[in-house]
Symmetry: C2
Subunit: 162 residues, 2 copies
């Protein structure tokens, strides 16, 4: 609970009585929450697959132990998760050997990584410092629609390194 907590950063549009934002129609509102619930279902999977892809690319291999330290969870947790990724057809794994991504796994890794990068670069372009941007991007990435991604990308291109 270090950072992401309460903030009295409200000003202008947020402070002024807030009359501008009524409740959305029920159906729409429900669909918003549903979208978030759906994202939560795939989030972790995506992070694992993305991380495995990154480890393969940068380190040449992806071992369970590395994943455990990188993710900050126990080896048991990783082991269980790998079984699941296997069942989902995203990785192949021989015991005591490096993991590899299937075709499908590679596609997911690429997609997730591209998305992650856009969000990260966008935050930096916005003026967020690198450390914070990395933290925020790791969580935000799973909740950014393609429309918004495209707009973020445009923003990056416009505010490119001067």
């Amino acid at each position: 609970m270090s950072d992401h907590d309460q903030s009295p950063h409200l000003s202008a549009s947020s402070r002024n009585g807030n009359s501008g934002d009524a409740l959305p129609p029920v159906g729409e509102h429900a669909r918003q929450y549903e979208t978030v619930r759906n994202a939560h279902e795939t989030e972790l999977i995506e992070d694992y697959v993305e991380l495995i892809g990154d480890l393969l690319q940068h380190r040449g291999e992806a071992r369970a132990a590395d994943i455990a330290t990188r993710m900050g969870v126990s080896q048991a947790t990783v082991s269980k998760m790998i079984r699941r990724l296997n069942e989902l057809g995203l990785v192949t794994s021989k015991p005591y050997r490096s993991l590899f991504l299937t075709e499908e796994g590679q596609k997911m890794a690429e997609t997730s990584r591209a998305r992650h990068d856009i969000v990260l670069h966008f935050l930096r372009a916005l003026g967020v410092d690198d450390h914070t941007a990395r933290i925020d991007a790791e969580g935000m990435e799973h909740h950014v629609s393609n429309d918004t991604l495209a707009i973020m990308q445009r923003f990056i291109d416009e505010h490119a390194k001067p």
Copy 2:
């Protein structure tokens, strides 16, 4: 699974070999994931409390049935959740009566709502259409640090309604 899925929106900085983004140091990386896990623990609570606050403000009362339809979950799910909110000291509830927020609940509702508003208004100011902005904000809000929030607020103020 309507929207938030694969996107080949990659361009510029995302496409070009990606050599610019090596793996972060292990400890830092682990702390990123940890922050996300922490956010997930409080997310739902925040959304409930925020919604209850909104219902109280806009409708005068917050009944379990309304929450269930608004959130798109079963009444049983809501009932269980209300018990939890009660145990956490965030709401008071007499059976078959409207819910109310405790002091602490009200604080959380205000904070969450302020944050939610900033993210929503930021997305709109960025150029995201209202419908998409609402969906994205509902998920993103829980993963935006105070630093980033402040920057978003500044962006809103600068790009205010002309």
